[in-house]
């Protein structure tokens, strides 16, 4: 969606008016699992003999779905860490593919170095005329992203010049929905999205001609149903819906658009992605820092759950995906890359929508693979020697590190190499080139070494759990 839409949505969320009432009936139960926020006991990590200045700016533990929140002492004492299983999975979407000098590099940096695991992917439609994403899905999926395909469909009220308005006649709206659903399938085919991918129909806040939120009309519901049917009829893709949690009142009672649409769709309600910005971290979210970040500077580990019983949280009962921060302007916000250099989020987009999902693959373009499985990991370390696993003092041996998949482009993958013995000298790191599955480094048995052994362990930078693969070399004096 464009920034104007986002602004409009935010406005409506706060000031929507009442037009009609709906009753939440037959709401489909979310199929994705809801992760419970689980925290382990805090443990001392580092003894500090003085209060530290500064803070760690990247804290990683176990995997992408675990946060480690730190408590710094104000005097000499222990740096305390508490592991928290994030209550959801996180992603991001923004209007246009980055127009920076190295956009692909930027997006791999974003995937590699943040908890984000899925990425909004816009089809070129009348509602989203830009084609910056077109043709880039394969490369993005190779980087590891689970893509969330977005089809910006016709809207209840379209303020622009182009013909993108849902007819106010339900029969015509149905025809429009069928055609657009068919178009969405064709666009997905063009991108070669895998079977089972979810295509999200983007329905912005339902307003009247004056721009006031009036809730979804019958024609709008007809359009949505027809679009969903059209996509599902492909037998290849699964239809899903993106809508807003904008507010309005009916007979003095507050309603929410997403909730009403869910009720109107009834049994045909698809997996739904709801946009709503609570403007601050709800009470009870662990590690809340400066909204919408946590204390580590990562995207807040907020759950797709009702943080209160008010109607504004009703969407959480059925939404599988929640756009919890809209058009975030991350001025000055950076994240660390695999070189240690910071990258500005604004290098990627001026405005970010932040998303939380109950499942790791809301777009289902990477089925069966949580983010950790979409990162390359080291599966083997081998040494090429003339004699089995031995190297003579003063001589070298080639050590090959093998990944479980080809390293993504364009950055490749960084592997860390460590030797158990100072007498085996090897680079502390190596980079597996893009599209390659292994990298070979030279290890040297130090001149004058006595007989002994050295174990070489290798892992990717982000491979934090489990025993890293290793090889043991015998050093011959």
């Amino acid at each position: 969606m464009d920034n104007a839409q986002l602004s409009r949505r935010a406005l409506l969320a706060a000031t929507g008016t009442v037009t009609f009432a709906t009753f939440l009936a037959g709401r489909r139960t979310a199929v994705a699992s809801t992760r419970a926020m689980a925290a382990t006991a805090a443990v001392p990590l580092i003894a500090l003999t003085a209060p530290p200045a500064g803070r760690f700016t990247r804290v990683r533990c176990v995997d992408d779905d675990t946060r480690l929140y730190l408590t710094y002492p104000t005097a000499a004492g222990q740096l305390i860490g508490a592991k928290v299983a994030a209550p959801a999975f996180y992603g991001v979407d923004f209007i246009a593919y980055p127009d920076s000098q190295h956009p692909a590099k930027c997006l791999q940096d974003l995937f590699d170095n943040t908890p984000f695991g899925f990425l909004g992917f816009y089809f070129k439609t009348t509602g989203h005329p830009g084609n910056s994403w077109t043709g880039k899905s394969a490369a993005l999926r190779e980087q590891g992203w689970d893509l969330v395909p977005i089809y910006v469909g016709r809207q209840q009220h379209w303020t622009h010049q182009s013909d993108n308005q849902i007819s106010d006649k339900p029969a015509t709206a149905t025809t429009q929905g069928k055609a657009d659903g068919k178009n969405a399938v064709a666009l997905a085919d063009t991108e070669n999205l895998p079977t089972g991918s979810r295509l999200y129909l983007d329905i912005e806040a339902t307003t009247d001609a004056a721009g006031h939120n009036v809730g979804p009309s019958a024609a709008t519901i007809a359009y949505i149903k027809a679009w969903l049917t059209g996509v599902n009829a492909s037998g290849k893709y699964k239809a899903a819906l993106y809508d807003a949690n904008s507010a309005y009142k009916v007979s003095g009672k507050e309603h929410r658009e997403a909730v009403d649409i869910e009720a109107d769709l009834g049994a045909s309600a698809p997996p739904t992605w709801v946009a709503w910005d609570p403007t601050a971290a709800p009470a009870g979210v662990a590690g809340a820092g400066t909204w919408p970040q946590d204390t580590n500077g990562d995207t807040l580990a907020i759950g797709v759950q009702a943080y209160s019983t008010t109607i504004k949280w009703e969407f959480a009962k059925f939404a599988e995906l929640w756009q919890f921060k809209l058009d975030w302007k991350p001025t000055g916000v950076t994240f660390l890359t695999d070189t240690g250099a910071p990258r500005k989020l604004t290098d990627i987009a001026k405005g970010f929508d932040l998303d939380a999902a109950k499942a790791y693959d809301p777009g289902n373009t990477a089925p069966g693979k949580p983010k950790a499985k979409r990162r390359p990991s080291v599966t083997a370390v081998t040494a090429v020697t003339t004699a089995a696993a031995s190297v003579k003092a003063g001589k070298t041996v080639k050590v090959t590190v093998k990944l479980d998949r080809a390293a993504p482009a364009p950055n490749g993958a960084v592997v860390l190499l460590r030797s158990s013995s100072a007498r085996l000298i090897l680079p502390s790191s190596a980079r597996v080139a893009a599209q390659a599955t292994n990298v070979t480094v030279t290890a040297t048995a130090a001149v004058g070494s006595p007989a002994g052994s050295a174990t070489v362990r290798a892992r990717t930078l982000y491979q934090l759990s489990g025993q890293p693969p290793q090889v043991t070399l015998q050093i011959i004096a």
């Binding site: 003085a50 910071p342 100072a422």
Partner: protein
Amino acid sequence: MQSWTWTNSSRTRRWTDAKNWSPEGTPQDGDEVTIPAVDAWGNTGGNGPAGAPALSLSKLTLQGLTLYDGPFTVTKTLAWSGGLMDADVTVSGDASVSGLDGSVSNPGIVNNHTLKVSGTATITGTASLSPFPRLLIATGGKLVNTGSLTLSDAGFASNAGFGVVTNGGTLSVIGSSATAGGALTITHKAGAQLDIAVGGEFIVGAGTVLKLAGGKVTGELGTLQAGDGNGGEIDVPVDTTVPQLVIGGNGTVSVTAAAGTPPPTLTVSEYLGWGDGSSAAKYSALVGHLILLPGATGNIGNHASLTSGKVENAGHVTVAANTTLTLQGTQPTIVNSGTLTLSGTCTAGFGTVTSTGLIEKTGTGVALFNVALTSKGNVAVSGGTLQIGGGDWTIPGGTVSLAGGARLEGAQAGRLVLTGGPQGGVLAGAGTVAANVVNGGWVEPAAPGLTITSYSQQPTGNIALPSAAAPLLTLGGANLHLDGSLWVLA
């Protein structure tokens, strides 16, 4: 051909007096001549025959009385067991020099005369003599070898003047050979060969300069040594390889060239001994660029210095306990791609060291490595204490590791600076780092724990903890600063 023996029967000492020879007559070209140690009148030493004409002898035997005038050419055999050579002699056949026993009749070349050997010559001493038996080459005297000259337990000496040995052929050393004296220059010319046999040593002693001017030095198990405790210098003006080199007490190896010519290198292929244990006041000096090849070993002991030069170590060099290695002059540098072992208590400073190999501290005691170090290899402290001096240690790759409770200290202003970010250098292990550590790379503690007393982490820095269990890392310092990344491995 006639054989003649000097008798001085007429007591005139005239070479051309027929009665002074036995049988009577005068030696002619092609004849054999013997100059004994004592003539018929009991004269010795400098009372040899005078007024000899230019002669080409088939054999010349010198047994004690001085040989004057000439010049002489010896086409077959020079047998020199005593006396001075106050004449120019050229030997195209075989020559043997012996009797180097330090007695008054010790053979020697004097008064600016030259002995040229174009055939085969052997100078034989007695190994048991101390100091080494030496052929005297007095002021202005020259020994020029264009053939094959063998020093067998013998060497050269000069007096207060300037003697010269020029080797343009093959100079072979068997047993111990040493030079000493006032000022002796040995020039080993291009195309020549200095071969030091198994177990042999050629010691360039006080007052002597051996100039390796392009000649080969061979003999994998023989040693060329500069310095006998009182001095001695080896000059290397052009690229030269020496199998075994010792820079001994007060000895100097100067690997330098004249201005305008490319800087030379001295390559040691087997062994480098650098330092003399005879006295703490004796330095062993290296000037210029020395390369220790892979497979070679080196031992630095006592007091050694590197001046305005570079040592490239691809072998294994040990700085022995109680050693002071001084790096001085303009940009003295050690480039280590092999192993540099700091053993026990020792000091090395103040130049620059770059390493892609292993630098290790072993044994007990404190080693001060007072250099600006850049290491992409490994630095291992496995015993005692290793001190950082005034210069930073920059670790852009590789690992600095502590084991066995070892200690890394900052003795002066120098810091341990890990750079390179996630792809950079690593400080790992267990022990204490009592130094300023600036982490822009990795810190990876291990059981039972790592303590860093003064710590600052940069944005590119990383700490990797093996688990979120008992803390293995203690950080401190008045300016303790945290930034960058914390990784906790499950």
